[in-house]
Structures are given as structure tokens and as C-alpha cells.
Symmetry: C2
Subunit: 368 residues, 2 copies
């Protein structure tokens, strides 16, 4: 996607052919900078500190992390240790395990001398596939947008499609294009009108900082709202569709996504507004039927107690600044994700097409 | 209630007998300071800038505002102008209109020379009544807590009652005791165990700053959570009761309250958790049956784009600091309240006792 007229992806193999570049998302939206990952440890830190985030991008970063480990030491032990370290860098996104497994399986089939080459090839392939997958999600989502826009009746055909999204499932969460935002980009680039309600998505504010940054960079009309506001917007008929990504979706269709997604799904259901989940197949966890078994990351309470932004104070204007929000005597609690039960989901937009929830869901996923 | 061991109310008549003192709530939780209101204009500004806030306290402040106007000029014209100015200082809380009407009705019955005395007497009476009302809400809420605590079964009798609340409906929203928090204070003072989940309540963070401050000052166990987290807590069985206040409740029982309340009510319903509204009768709007007619305040988008907190930066440590959260190119939208339909409410706790929603609701309100 575009930043100041230049095309970027979130992650890339550097010109030296051995290190990996990423956009440092922890500094957005007020500072655009990049970071070079030179070791598997660098990759793990980038994932756990949320320099990179978003389930698909976490997967791609893990694949490159394994490449970095193998470049240093191609032994079985090194692969096992690196896989283990990467696997534990964040617990919820299933793409992480999926990418590690995919690369390490390939590595197990070849001689040590070949492993650096194979790891690089496979990581590159995963990154390229991610772009194609997101483009395909954008294509299928576009058709859905067509349906929803025309269902509003001919008198509203010229009005912008009003989309609400939670957290960031845009190109910053993937390599390019994004999942939930891919149809929005395609819609906008085709000259169709759209207006996006961006949930700020406390505590890490991925909506206010990343989604808003993405949309502003592409010149797409949007407004940031607090996470509390979505119910009001839906009650007032100001939302045509809710679309979100997912960190892990069970084969029954229960959707684990950023904390607060469930509340928006409830409001969408209560107001008869379609609620869609955009996801690559790599976000499906085929092993879990009971979504209560998905490990939910409990993150640092500091993320609730403090917030970072751009200072407007005289003596530090423009600098990044951290402020404390709660009394010194108070504690906080910070679960990172929640589960939206499949009964609240109108449908799934995958790279292969739509899947409706209900009877034989996992068979339907297989059959398209 | 207690702050550092000293008893405070949120508003008081100063020793000079003509000016009015208030706690400056816009500075909490990091700075405790007071402000003196010397004119009706001061009172209007205190209400619109949220130096005082909370529906019952807004009502009391308006009553004192009218007193300040009448002290200066007791003419009919002055009363009318002051009433009008106060009425428009904030649009949603019904207590504002209720208090203005009550005081100006009394003033209309007496000679100009008597008006300053009568206004002071009536404002004082409203403030005193507010304390009694909140105490009574605390009493009835206590009985509800008993029921809910014992319904959890004998094996959990020693566990703390887990209450989730949104925004601030504590003593800072009233003169003393609060509405939704009054039963919690009574419970705690009676030696019963309680744990409060405090919704931070973006964008103004009344939960993180005011409710947390109140609970910390009284030594009541609590944790601040982001507004997104309540659904997760309820899904995981970590909440026994949700209790909130209201800015205006229709005679059908639809509850207008701080933005985001509706989302918590949906989650409570979905997880079969009792959702209660604590309110004085002065928060009931008998004139409106259709809750969509309640004027919802659309507040400044700056409240979403910027946030204030206590700086932890080296060069400004401990100072209040404002930071920008969203990209310079992005806009925001900031509705202040939403409507929780009566179908999502388990019951109402008033100063006269419980009222269950459903058939003949407004008759029930009259009959207790």
C-alpha cells in the first residue's frame, strides 16, 4: 500500500539477502520508521513487543525468524529451539504455529547445507502467498460490498458504504492489502464511495493508530470513534456492515479476535447489521472445536494504566510521550482477545470465497 | 465519602453564605483541587466543562447556579435568562431541567426580596435530599447484593461479589454516596467482600479517573479494564452483576447513559448476568415515551483525538500532559450517550425500592 506516494510492504528481505526489514508499527502513527531483524531473537522480540502484529504478519515474521536461526545454525537442535522460542513469542494467533510448522517441515526434508536456502525460499513464498490471499479476500469482499450497497435501495446508490471495523486487519496486519480492509481498498481504488468508522481499540489503540494511519495514507474517508461508540452508531442506522479480522477461528466458526470484537458482534446482531470476518485459511484452527480452549493472552496491565501519544505540551511538542491514566493506587487487568461465537457471525470472507456459518461449517470450508 | 481520611461532598455552600464550592473533577485522579463558583456563569461553565458532572450533581449545581443568579438580580428576567443558560449547559441529563424547574417554581411564588433566601434554601434542600436518596439507593442495592451473593451457592459465600460498572455513578456524580456505587460502599463498610471491575469509559475516562479514584480512596478492591474487556469478563464468568447509573430514563424504562453502556447490557443479557440501573426519581423523564427522542450530546472530537494524563517523561514527570492519539490527517466522532432498551435491563434500583421492567412499568414506578 501507499505511504506518501511510495509503495511499501510490512516486511521484506533486505538487499544483503540475509537480514529482514520491517515497518516498526509500535511507533505509528506519529513516526514512520523501519527496523532490521538480524537474528531469530530479533524476530521474537519484534513479535512480542508488537513491532509487528496482526495474525498473518506474525506468521510471516515467524517464517523469516526461522530463516534467521537457520542461517546462523542449521542443526535440528537450532531449528527446534528457534521454533519453540518463536511459538512462545505470542500465544493467540494460530498463524504463528502454522508458519513455523510449514517451514520446519520443509527443513526436515533437506540436508543441513540446503536449509538456509530452503528457509529463505519458503519464508518468501509464505510472504508472496499472503499477498495473493489478501488480494483474493479483497476480491470476494468487494462482491459482498456490491450486494450490501445495492440492498440499501436505488435511492441510496450514491451514498458511501459505511463500514465499521475493530482493531487493525489492514495491510499492516499482513504483508500487503490486509484482510478486513482489503475489500475497502479495492472498493476505493475502483472509485466507489466508502466511509470507515474506526474503533480506536484500547488498550493498544491499533485502530486509532494503525487503521487510521492506513486509511489516511490511502486517502480513504474515515472517522475514529471510541470503542464505546459502535453500539450507538448501529442503533442510529449509521453502519451498513461490520468487518473484522481474526487471530484464530475454530473449525466450528467461533472467532477469536482483538478484545471488544464480541461486543460489536452483539450490537450488530441486535441491530440486524451484517457482521463479517475476513480471514486466510491459515487463521483457522482445525484442532480446536471448543473455543473456550483457545489460550487468551493476558497482557501487561501497564497497557491499560499508561498510554503513548504525541505530546502537545510546549516543552516537548511533537515528541512521543507516555502518560499515566489511572490513580497510582489502582491496578488493571488486560485480556487481549475475546471469542465471538459463530451464532453472531453473518459470514466468513476467505481467499477461496464466502463461507456461511451453520450446519457442516467445517465441511463447507473444505469444499470450496 | 473519604479522601485521605477526610469527609467530603462534591458541592457545598461556602462559609461566606453566598458562593459555592465544588471539587474540580476535571483534574482527578492525579490532582485534587476545588473551585469556587461566584456567578451563574461560573456554574454553567463548571457544568459544560465537566468540572462537575454526573446527572444528579448537574441538577444540584444548576439549583445553586440559579441561587447565584438571583443573588445578583432577583428579577423575573434574570431568572428566565439564568434558567435558559443553565438548561443549555448540557443537553442529556434530565436532572438539570428538573432542578431548574423546581427552584424557579418556588421563586415564582415569592416576592423579589425573598428570592435569594428561597433559592438558597431550595438548592440546599435539593442537595440534602440527594444525599438521602443516594443512601436509600444504597440500602435497596445492598439487599439486591445479598440476593445475588447468596444465589451463587453456599460454597462461594466467602468469595467477593464481583461487580462491573461503567462510567462514574459514584459519589462524585452526586453530592455524596453515589447511585450505582452506593450499594458497593454500604457493602464494603459492612465488612462484606467486593471486587469492582471499572470500565475506563473512553473518551473522558470517568471510570479510570473518577470511579477508580473513589474506590481507591475508600480502600475498595478494584481493577480498571478497557471498555472492550467487559464482554470477555462476562463470558469467563468473572462478573456477578453489572450496575450503572443513568442520565435520563424514560417512563418506559429505556436507559440513556454514558456511551458504551448499551454494549455492556447486551453482553450481560447474552451471558445471563443481571444488569441493574441505579437512579433517583429525578432522572426519570416522564414526558418521553420514545427514547429515540432523547437529545444525545455530540461532544468535541478533540476528546477522542487527545487524552490527558500524568506525564512519566523525565523533563515533565508528574505534570499533567496532553497527547494526541490519532494521525494528524484523521478526524473523529464523539457521541456522548447511548440508549439501553428496557428489554436488556433486569431491574431498577430507586430511592423508593426496586422496580422490575415490563407491563405497566410507569404505573409501578408511581405505586411504590
Amino acid at each position: 500500500m501507499q505511504i506518501d506516494g511510495k509503495h511499501w510492504t510490512t516486511i521484506w528481505l533486505c538487499d544483503d539477502g540475509i537480514s529482514v526489514g520491517v515497518i516498526d508499527q509500535s511507533k505509528l502513527p506519529h513516526q514512520f520508521s523501519t527496523k532490521i531483524l538480524r537474528s531469530c531473537n530479533d524476530a521474537c522480540k519484534a513479535i512480542s513487543n508488537m513491532v509487528v502484529r496482526g495474525a498473518p504478519l506474525i506468521g510471516v515474521t515467524a517464517a523469516y525468524g526461522l530463516m534467521l536461526a537457520v542461517q546462523e545454525d542449521p542443526s535440528d537442535k537450532s531449528i527446534e529451539e528457534a521454533s519453540n522460542q518463536l511459538f512462545h513469542s505470542r500465544p493467540t494467533a494460530i498463524n504463528l504455529a502454522w508458519a513455523i510448522e510449514r517451514v520446519s517441515k520443509k527443513l526436515s526434508l533437506v540436508d543441513k547445507s540446503q536449509r538456509a536456502y530452503i528457509a529463505k525460499k519458503e519464508a518468501g513464498l509464505i510472504a508472496e502467498e499472503d499477498i495473493s490471499i489478501c488480494k483474493a479476500i479483497g476480491h470476494h469482499g468487494y462482491q459482498l460490498f456490491e450486494e450490501i450497497a445495492s440492498s440499501r435501495g436505488p435511492e441510496r446508490v450514491m451514498e458511501p458504504l459505511r463500514v465499521l471495523t475493530h482493531c487493525n486487519a489492514g495491510w499492516l496486519a499482513t504483508v500487503d492489502w490486509g484482510t478486513a480492509l482489503a475489500p475497502i481498498y479495492k472498493w476505493h481504488r475502483n472509485g466507489r464511495k466508502v466511509h470507515v468508522w474506526v474503533d480506536e481499540t484500547r488498550p493498544r489503540n491499533q485502530g486509532a493508530s494503525l487503521t487510521a494511519f492506513e486509511l489516511a495514507s490511502e486517502g480513504i474517508p474515515h472517522k475514529v470513534v471510541v470503542d464505546n461508540a459502535g453500539g450507538y452508531l448501529m442503533q442510529k442506522g449509521m453502519v451498513d456492515i461490520v468487518i473484522v479480522g481474526t487471530d484464530r477461528t475454530t473449525s466450528c466458526g467461533d472467532v477469536c479476535n482483538k478484545i471488544g470484537t464480541y461486543l460489536k458482534a452483539l450490537a450488530a446482531k441486535d441491530n440486524k447489521i451484517p457482521f463479517y470476518v475476513a480471514l486466510p485459511y491459515s487463521s483457522i484452527d482445525w484442532s480446536i472445536k471448543d473455543s473456550s480452549l483457545i489460550p487468551i493472552e493476558i497482557r501487561s496491565e501497564k497497557e491499560v494504566a499508561y498510554i503513548e501519544g504525541k505530546s502537545i505540551s510546549q516543552n516537548s511538542k511533537g515528541n512521543s510521550s507516555v502518560v499515566r491514566l489511572i490513580p497510582e493506587e489502582s491496578q488493571s487487568y488486560n485480556p487481549g482477545f475475546d471469542i465471538t461465537p459463530v451464532r453472531l457471525v453473518s459470514g466468513f470472507i476467505t481467499e477461496k470465497g464466502f463461507v456461511q456459518p451453520g450446519g457442516g461449517f467445517s465441511e463447507k470450508l473444505f469444499s470450496i
